[in-house]
Symmetry: D2
């Protein structure tokens, strides 16, 4: 046993509580992320690991990998989390050769199957780590060397198969090295074409093995590289449209990636949702005064309300969920810090769900917004939208109608309204 | 006469000097921008105007507008600049009514025709100011009120016609208010649809009047609003693709807008160029340590080299050019400051052109880059690109070929090479 | 009457409610700021005014100034705000000559005296506008021309006298032009010396007229200029220490200025408080994804809790208070938007006060922190602090004691604790 | 031999060339930095090491450390660099115990003495690594546990002694962990007092062993921690003044740290120089569009000119110099990439020195600036500076003199002037 038996009570999260006709657990679909929660060490660019986990003590890598999985399922069990997410190299050690890596992965997948059967937990999504090994330093799918492309493709093959074997609801591509350090030595369009080819090959393989999970790409503008091609939601959509991939992939949106791109999380969610491409969420938060991915647990119910409002407005998650792509701070070296971190965020999302449901439910906000656009329902507005008005028609209208009225956007009133809904949920 | 007769000599710019078979003036296609150079006052959010121009002394607005145009053509003549850019409201005062505004504009267009005939100068592009008047506070085409949409449409009609009358090589849409202050009161997708409709109506009008110039949209992420829909080159491309507008519009890329979006200018140029959508350039530079659009004159030949390299690689400008969307600092209150500012940047672009031509000409950089991707010309790479390889084929390749070699990206060598080319151009 | 009689009820703010032995109103000492609330027009760098206030209708500037003051006192009365803050040029129009400006100011000060007597409202602080007029474009006290210095000094003389006449509790210097556009034309140290001289002259004048209010300087790093000398709290303290001014001035800290400097508001408050120099607060918030001073009303009770915690820990305000240096958004053109904005922030600060009082009151957070540093109370720690240990003593200690233990910083636990306190206050 | 015999020729750097009466080598005092150049691996937060150095092949740590030192002196010899900088843990491996670490360090110091004797190379400065080991995760001198303070103190004792033994010209403190992750668990002022005590103890030890080198602190605002106390030059000066340490320490200023703090490098240099506290320079550059310390080699002669102008204006370096605190990019895995990187920057600083010398030499820029402030040499200006003028005197002056003249700051002219000087140096 790696975590204490008695963990604190949730303050707000109650998996069975019904909100808008669905249990909280089904609305929120929390997932524990393996790389941060089980494998993060506290190392940073200026410092060595600070966390010495009990489950990382064994010398034998495969034994250590199984211990780690035991700890993961113990923690998920204690927290009541029903999904997990993983990279291939996080659950199973990379071997000396590709074949050995495959064997290691298969061994751990079998081990995970047992753990899953006992617990009813399953993957929200799986993925392949195509960024840590030096072979990927100049890109995986976008590498100037097709040998590396092939290596990445082979790795994805097995990661997809592992996810499929474990009943994963989705599979994510995050292209941490798919970008450039300098445009001076880079043929960008050629690399983007390679990347599109790669994704199509992966989608074909997924289909060929009968994997029904959703495929996602995940926007992030930079870090580790100077620029990543999947820089934000619109860059991803542009790429998917350009290469005809929009039917095959949705987006997995992360708060800290949004803010690194200079956008709010809600902006990115809205962009994805309105394009019919919002799939899943990496639930975390960054520090907007720092320029790197701090991946903190989000415990602000104002922010979770805004997120859950977008989720409710797309009709809730189908394949996706809330993946805690977040890590405890480097000084938080105790296993209990992991417990506090997850519980704090789970409570905050529960509050956010309740508040968002209230906002949707009472309809006050929607009424204000509807009223704002009401004039488009008739007259010149309707003609314009129907494609029946020319610039000349517009001029004629203006010559008759004169100057438009100026009308308050009521931002402060609306913000107070939302703040009150959040407070009422507490 | 508003400017002294004797202005300094250029150090590097020589309009007739032939570079790669074309005169410098034809490569660079400099344009003077009316709003900053003629109409900027030095006002800022905390301060009143500091510049009291001789050409703004007359009390009668139309008289003042003609004086300003005299000054503009005098300055362009003295600097040897053959293009200009303008907003409708900058060359002619807004009237009490729409009809009066139209009459004012028409009067000044006639005046400009005379000035153009005398000088051989013509518009690089025209545009409509759809952001200053309070009627546009919540958007022009994207306004919640179709009355405002109609007003903007009517205004664009006349701005297009003015540009056409003056022989403009293009027309730019910059949507400074096409975005939102808060998503809470905004239906984003509805507004984006309005905007797409607006652009299509404008394109149809342009066609109907026989305007052959290129239409452009201009990316900028924020300022004045919190978020503008045309946030960066990829957001623009996504929008154009979504609404089938890519055949109709190209991009006008500005350095300071690129950096406000978190991108380098070269990144934005490359994105646009590789999508076949690079049209024209707003030549300026921002201060990356400040978070607003400082619109400074660019005098760094390292930066101009990088810009001209992208321009040369697309085969040079066709309709587009280098528009000095830049202003002298608030304390630079003398007319001669305008002269120094333009000359500094013209010299820097001349040096940049020479350096870029040398880089393209000697082929060293291209050879390094070509060599980097050489393996894609055969073997597994060629099969992948041809769509003939699966993930399983890739795995088979890797099982046989083993671990890829790690090869230097040579960034420092390449950067030194470029630095030397720039220095050689000086 | 400029505002409706019936305004909404506060949700949380109750001026008479006693918290830790003091009425809410006395803890919070809210001030309405004249320039934003009464005089802001909605103009921005790209757009004309959007707000047409009833109190700005009269053609005669002095009459308009009195109407504006009527509206200000009406609004403060309706909101139950007992303090106001003002610039000289905001309450009285600048005249053709300095003498006329003085007469205008004196006239409005007399008018304000009457309004104050009726209402019991008085200035939290006054100040002089040394940044809007073009004469200040290159600095006021730090101008290269001593003539401008003298002008600023004369203006401050009267602003101090006006503040004194109105019974102001303080006087603020904000040096929006005291900095540089480029170091190339700037003698920074010379300008800093001018500035120090200016502040000392002002302090001497304040003393000579019997003004007992606190003098403050206000940090802001940039905007309008590229760099302002009072860039952040530590830069201000460094300046005050260098010139022996620390006994004479405290700091007025603003949230949006803190974040523009790359700091959290709490950091700036802590720096000032621990230096004994925290005086007053400009209560607002910025948008960390935008690079300019958005001056929004703060309605997040998490942020107000953090602020009030620092205020409680310094023992509460003495001369200072919470000045709403915040403006409604450009599209919020109705007077009622001003009401909603102030009420939203007053409620949020009331909640923040209650939450902060609970945190201080239950002592849980303090106990954790005290425990963290407990070892400094004895042994080698005590010797070090007493100046009785050398590096060699430390080495001896380490050779004996070996490796220190690694101990969790418990950040997640603490953040949950604070979040719960905030929620309990709601 | 780790590097090829034949390295390229410098383009601009000529150590013996005399500029303003002093050899280039003596002006520039280049130093190679050990941690980046010899020990960096290419690891980043998302990836494993990419660089496999020949000098890191031996299994035995001490043998490997000696090989590394051989490579370092070979490289310095080939580049003609006469200074080096080092951390204790970079030249000698940390042992199991403190005592073993000390023995390792002493062994490598003896080895370095031999290498220095052969080559005439010596340390520009030494330092102790007080940030990598997990014991320092919550600070070294500012740790909540005095045991850690003692450990850091003991480590500095030996690092100082090592630097002294090697004839180092200085010693640097960089407090990468001296700050906080969250203010919620931090007593900032207590930690700042600990830090002041630490520096005083170090200064006393330096004196006691006869070390005559200059002590420096090095500003950096953040990374690795959320906030570091030595955040920028003014924060450092405030700290030094508060604790009476200004006579004991100067500043070591780094470009990338300046920009992370939101300042230009020239701003930080100017602040330090004008406070008499500019000691040495970490010569590198960051990427202002990225939010972390990229530590790139600076090859822009415009930037090096600005730096050398400040150096010339303080009369040149005494103890300090230009330390290449810069690393090759992660993909630059070849030893020759190190050669290209250093040479590119050495050439750029040579050009910058020549350009700066020309600017100082021809006096044009100085004349413009002197003229700008000329009025302070008499009249009211002189009285103000002499402390003989009151606000009332200023008012009298203004009532008589009226409105000051507005005069151009000539920024564009000046920037062109400097650009021309840089180009002339090429």
């Amino acid at each position: 046993m790696y975590f204490p038996d008695a963990i604190p009570q949730f303050r707000a999260y109650d998996p069975a509580r019904v909100v808008r006709g669905k249990a909280m657990a089904d609305h929120l679909r929390f997932a524990m992320c393996y790389w941060h929660t089980m494998r993060a060490t506290g190392a940073d660019p200026f410092g060595a690991p600070t966390m010495r986990r009990e489950w990382e003590r064994e010398a034998d890598p495969l034994r250590r990998a199984r211990d780690t999985m035991d700890a993961a399922f113990e923690l998920m069990g204690k927290l009541g989390i029903k999904f997990w997410t993983f990279h291939d190299r996080d659950i199973a050690p990379e071997g000396e050769t590709f074949a050995e890596s495959v064997r290691n992965l298969e061994q751990l997948v079998r081990y995970a199957e047992t753990k899953q059967k006992e617990s009813g937990i399953r993957p929200l999504w799986g993925t392949a780590n195509l960024f840590s090994n030096p072979r990927y330093m100049s890109g995986a799918a976008t590498n100037p060397d097709p040998h590396v492309f092939a290596y990445a493709a082979a790795q994805v093959k097995h990661a997809l198969e592992a996810t499929h074997a474990l009943g994963g609801a989705g599979y994510v591509f995050w292209g941490g090295r798919e970008g450039y350090e300098t445009l001076l030595n880079t043929e960008m369009q050629r690399e983007r074409e390679q990347y599109a080819r790669f994704l199509r090959m992966a989608a074909e393989h997924a289909k060929s093995i009968g994997f029904k999970g959703q495929l996602y790409i995940e926007p992030k503008p930079k870090e580790p590289t100077v620029h990543q091609y999947d820089s934000d939601a619109e860059a991803c959509l542009n790429f998917l449209r350009e290469f005809g991939l929009l039917p095959l992939l949705k987006l997995n949106i992360e708060t800290n990636h949004a803010t690194l791109a200079g956008h709010t999380m809600v902006h990115e969610l809205r962009v994805a949702r309105e394009a019919g491409a919002l799939g899943s969420i990496d639930a975390n938060v960054g520090d907007e005064l720092l320029g790197w991915d701090t991946d903190q647990f989000l415990i602000d119910e104002r922010a979770t309300t805004a997120i859950m409002l977008e989720v409710l407005r797309m009709g809730g998650f189908t394949t996706g969920g809330l993946n805690f792509d977040a890590k405890v701070r480097r000084q938080s070296v105790d296993p209990m810090d992991l417990v506090h971190a997850h519980m704090g965020s789970m409570d905050a999302f529960a509050l956010g769900l309740v508040a968002a449901a209230a906002i949707v439910g009472d309809g006050k906000l929607d009424a204000i917004v509807r009223d704002r656009y009401v004039a488009w329902g008739g007259g010149i507005g309707m003609k314009v939208l129907a494609g029946e008005a020319t610039l000349s028609d517009c001029e004629k209208y203006v010559l008759k109608a004169g100057e438009p009225a100026v009308r308050s956007g009521q931002q402060e009133l609306i913000e107070n309204l939302v703040a009150e809904s959040v407070r009422s949920a507490v």
